[in-house]
Amino acid sequence: MQAAFAALSSIVSWFASMIDPICGPIGIFRLFAQDTLLACGDTGWGDEIAQGFMITVSLAICTLPIGLLLGFFIAVAKQSEEKSLRLAVNIYTTLFRGLPELLTLFIVYYGLQILAQQAMAAVGFEGPVEINAFVAGMIALSFVFSAYCSEVLLSAFKAIPQGQYEAGDALGLHRGKTMRLIILPQLVRIALPGLGNLWMALLKDTALVSIIGLSDILRQTGIAARVTKNAFEFFSIACLLFLILAMLSSLVFSALERWTKRSEAAR
């Protein structure tokens, strides 16, 4: 069993290294920058930066589903007839939309650390407790993303006419089914541009986790800049990588938008 897992993970990591767009066999640094400071391997910083790139992307991708799901439920709660529920979720969104992302990150990171330390002390374990920076970043960014996401989804919900719910009732659909079959497809169509903007903001916010020690693009290029003293070049590369991510995601989002609108009549 153990061996099977090891084999599987080595296959996965081999596959990931093969399609690595930066330092893989057909990566840009491997092809065009092999004799420079960006070389992949021990002579250059290419592989370190490629690693940071992967961490940035995976942090954003891991945060997205949590934030979306949380944001969806908050948006539903905001339309509830129950006053206390609305108040509770409004406090949440006011809080996380009002705090700077950096401060949220620090509060989650150090707060979790203190809580974990106290919890461990309560069961009798003394000593330093370290919280994984990736997890702390994921939690903090999910809070921020879900707060903004709920606003986008709420305005999309409001754009769907009441008649659509009534039609669902008339067809005898269960409430959950009405939501899944009638409301959600329209919701996605309306909310997609707003969600695209939020995804871009999320990609940019991931740069903040470099401050709590996660080795993402900015931290890796920062280390390279300090060691080689070529700060301008390396930070330019960091900016360039973020730009490439932004371009790729705008391509993906325009394709998604076309896909969700495939059933609409051509105008």
Partner: protein, 276 residues
Amino acid sequence: MSHAETMLPALPPPPEAQKRYTLSRLLGRALLGVWLAASVGIFLFAVDSWSPEKFAKYGPSFLSGLRVTLTLVAISVVLGGILSLPIAYGRMTKNKVLSWIAYGYVYFFRGTPLIAQLFLVYYGLGSFRPYLEAIGLWSLFKDAWFCALFTFTLNTAAYQAEILRGAIESVPRGQHEGASALGLPKRVAFFKIILPQAMIVALRPYGNEIILMIKGSAVVAIVTVFDLMGETRRAFSRTYDFQMYLWAAVLYLIMVEVLRNLWAWIETRLTRHLKR
């Protein structure tokens, strides 16, 4: 023929319908309970680790940090507003070269994180020290505060240019046509007819941009500017008191909420004539 001899006696009001205890109510109460417990917990924590000497020592530095944040944001928003005018013009002009330059500028500053831009200016421009010294700008660019101001100005100019462009383009075509039908020159039509309508559209995005700048300005703490976040980090690194972050959070929340409400008031005031 029959008719009523007596009136019916007045009945007591029907009993108030018992509100059903729904799942959403339960959930709402539970979540409010969580918030209440959290605020009580934080309050107790604050009382527990409260010390007058810490307050006397770090209170003033928090206030000075607040001042730094506010001046930084105010100056960069105003300068960015001025810089955004030519960029917005470039985005809307028919000149291919100008519009590509403006597009590239806006794309760069909106597509990369503010913190990466700040690092690029603060650490990166150090590579050009001889040139900067030659033209006498080095004394400015070695100062972290000035680098932050410079970056923020460039950054907010890109965002404000897009706000301005969107607002001007949102004014319907008929307004241009109406102005030219009245024989108004292009310049007068722009300043007297298009711009006033565009500014009302742009009001809310401008408010959001200022709020985003206040929140975004927290990153200057990383390049050793002692704004509110910087003072908080310094106080935390000296005391290891988690309270410091909570105080900073309260101050940021107050700033953002005051600005948001102020902006909502300004907007209702300025759009009185549009109310029906």
